[in-house]
């Protein structure tokens, strides 16, 4: 017998267990007797833990005291945060001269100003802004932090960085307000929008050159007191090392990964050897090697300071790890993508830069950010070879006479700081993932 449906079945509302909180709870937390017991026991354990931590860390804690003895007098069972608070400047800035701290803060603010356009809507050429952050900002910040005499090269780079920062900022303000880019705006301001493209480019180059010269002349009179790297420390030093590591790991990793997949045997073997060598050695060994072996390879008379050696070691080490992450991402892209790109005439670099790499990087965001978080935490190892990064600073609190033996509180404070930074990074990566996944969403 044939069955023919004459009417469409209308959609009905979902049962309550699928849409309300109570429905969700009765299904997931109290679904069976055993389930209910587990829920209650777990809740009780959580309650006990939170209560004890609260009593020790907040309710009975001491916030103001001159030394550890005083802390004990006020409250024997509570945490002695007073020590951490007294040392706060050291934890953040190390032994950087107190009257020069504004330079570190200014550096941080400049980085923020530089990066903000990346998150603003309607701003064009974000990739360029990102690239300048990696290649120009470090010179400006480096001079701000280290100070001292500027060589000609440094002066040029600092001028370029300042011009770029000003350009960036104007560009993003104009972008947000009008939706056009800085060059377009300048051309329109000068009424030359009908001029041929070549003469427009000439005008823009002229403006760029003039502003470079002006800034160069201005910065010649600007001088910052030299601060020896031995005074750098605390969270500041940790962020400097990991920041440079993060900024260089991705480009370095991409180059090494492409090298490892290259069809040219020499490049392939060299990249593979380099990657495997660094990956098979623990970071702490690399750090020791860097501080003891680098000087042996250097020509006589060249003395690299320990901080530079450490930064080079961290960069190389992480570039090698990143190379493997990138390689995994590249392998996940189907071969057809490269073939599709070849058939419309794109060569190797066009295919890599426009088709393969953008897709691969998108897939790799969780892994890349994972490596970045690992890198940030790994930099604490430099405290072992005698740099006073944040961990070094936290541990020296317990050796300070008034706070002798104060271990727990500084380390817990450090853990909270690290958690905040790492959690923010991981949340941001999740956000990026969702934002960039539009290409695949139905």
């Amino acid at each position: 017998m044939a069955i023919v449906k004459t009417e469409k079945t209308p959609a009905r509302e979902a049962p309550l267990s699928e849409t309300t909180i109570i429905g969700w709870m009765s299904k997931n937390l109290f679904g069976s007797v055993f389930n209910s017991i587990l829920t209650v026991v777990t809740l009780y354990i959580i309650y006990l833990t939170v209560r004890d931590v609260w009593v020790w860390g907040v309710a009975d804690a001491v916030w103001v005291a001159d030394n550890r003895r005083e802390c004990f007098k006020i409250s024997i069972d509570g945490a002695c945060w007073a020590g951490v608070i007294t040392w706060m400047d050291n934890i953040f800035y190390g032994r950087y001269p107190r009257e020069e701290l504004w330079r570190i803060n200014l550096g941080a603010i400049l980085l923020f100003v530089w990066m903000v356009p990346l998150w603003l809507p309607r701003v064009k050429a974000k990739v360029l802004i990102g690239v300048t952050t990696v290649f120009l900002y470090p010179f400006l910040a480096g001079y701000l932090f280290a100070g001292g005499d500027k060589g000609i090269f440094m002066q040029v780079m600092i001028s370029a960085a300042i011009v770029c920062l000003i350009g960036n900022t104007l560009h993003s303000i104009i972008g947000v307000l009008t939706g056009s880019s800085l060059p377009e705006f300048l051309i329109r301001l000068l009424g030359r929008q009908d001029a041929p493209e070549k003469s427009q480019h000439k005008i823009l180059f002229g403006i760029l050159a003039v502003s470079l010269v002006v800034v160069y002349l201005w910065q010649m009179g600007w001088h910052a007191e030299g601060v020896s790297w031995t005074k750098w420390g605390g969270l500041f030093l940790t962020l400097v090392i990991s920041g440079i590591g993060i900024a260089s790991a991705l480009p370095g990793g991409i180059i090494l990964a492409l090298g490892r997949r290259s069809r040219l045997p020499v490049i392939r073997v060299l990249s593979t050897a380099f990657i495997e060598l660094f990956r098979s050695v623990p970071l702490i060994t690399v750090l020791f090697m860097a501080t003891t072996m680098f000087p042996l390879f250097m020509p006589e008379g060249v003395v690299l300071n320990k901080l530079v050696q450490v930064i080079i070691a961290v960069c190389l080490f992480n570039a090698c790890y990143m190379a493997e992450t990138v390689r995994a991402g590249l392998q996940a892209i189907p071969k057809g993508q490269a073939e599709g790109a070849h058939t419309i005439g794109l060569g190797y670099w066009g295919t890599m830069g426009l088709i393969i790499m953008p897709q691969a990087l998108k897939h790799m965001i969780p892994n890349i950010v994972g490596s970045f978080i690992g890198l940030l935490k790994d930099t604490t190892l430099v405290s072992i070879i005698g740099l006073f990064d944040i961990l070094g600073m936290l541990r020296s609190i317990s050796r300070d006479t008034p706070w002798l033996g104060l271990h727990k509180e500084p380390l817990i404070f450090g853990a909270i700081l690290f958690f905040l930074i790492c959690f923010a990074m991981s949340k941001y990566s999740r956000h990026l993932e969702v934002k960039l996944s539009t290409g695949h969403k139905k």
């Binding site: 189907p334 057809g336 993508q337 073939e339 599709g340 790109a341 070849h342 058939t343 419309i344 005439g345 794109l346 060569g347 066009g350 426009l354 088709i355 953008p358 897709q359 998108k362 539009t438 290409g439 695949h440 969403k441 139905k442």
Partner: protein, 264 residues
Amino acid sequence: MTDTNTQEPQQAMEQLASAISSEVIIDLNQVNKWYADFHVLKDIDLIVHKGERIVVCGPSGSGKSTLIRCINHLEEHQAGSIVVDGITLDKNLKNIDHIRTEVGMVFQSSNLFPHLSILENLTLGPIWVRKMPKAEAEATARKYLERVKIPEQADKYPGQLSGGQQQRVAIARSLCMNPKIMLFDEPTSALDPEMIKEVLDVMIELADTGMTMIVVTHEMNFAKTIADRVIFMDEGDIVEENEPNEFFNNPQHERTRLFLSQIL
């Protein structure tokens, strides 16, 4: 296989001389290819004239895909010569890149770029390879989207399109480069039956414009409609080559007869 095969192209050409130009655009001479020690293409001779439409068929593993992938050097041949549009394919990367701008190709899976919108997929080649201004490239892209009958999809992403639409976009993407030759590697074999027709219709329209086409396909009705010549391959050999009427109604080689009896 048989010695008469080498004579076939010339004979076929003479019969069809009136319909197509006498200018040779693809010339394969004694082409051989191995995958490791597996001999995929054996002494392949093939001459394609401008405006000619050739359908290649044969059982899987017969080397038909490899054959057309050699023409734009997605696969490298180890012996013999391939001359496309007057340029010999060799180790010279410049030549290969140039050939690829002249030869469009559509694959079994569309190989669209999922991170780019349809319009960006279409304008990428013209802008980056042909150095065309963006506005002009977009106008061209929209024109070709119109021609493959999906102008309204320009701002969507490939993942939002059906398989048939994706394949039509892939055809449009190739056409945007204004190629002299179009290669099709089983463009409909991964599609639902309902979508095959829409893709074939676009290809038939393309054939009507006089485009030089080499199509690997199992769609025999399509072959009958558009082909000037049908080539049958088996185990790396061109076993039989004839104009479609003769090929389907009067196959000469035993292997061809067996193949046709199985798929028709």
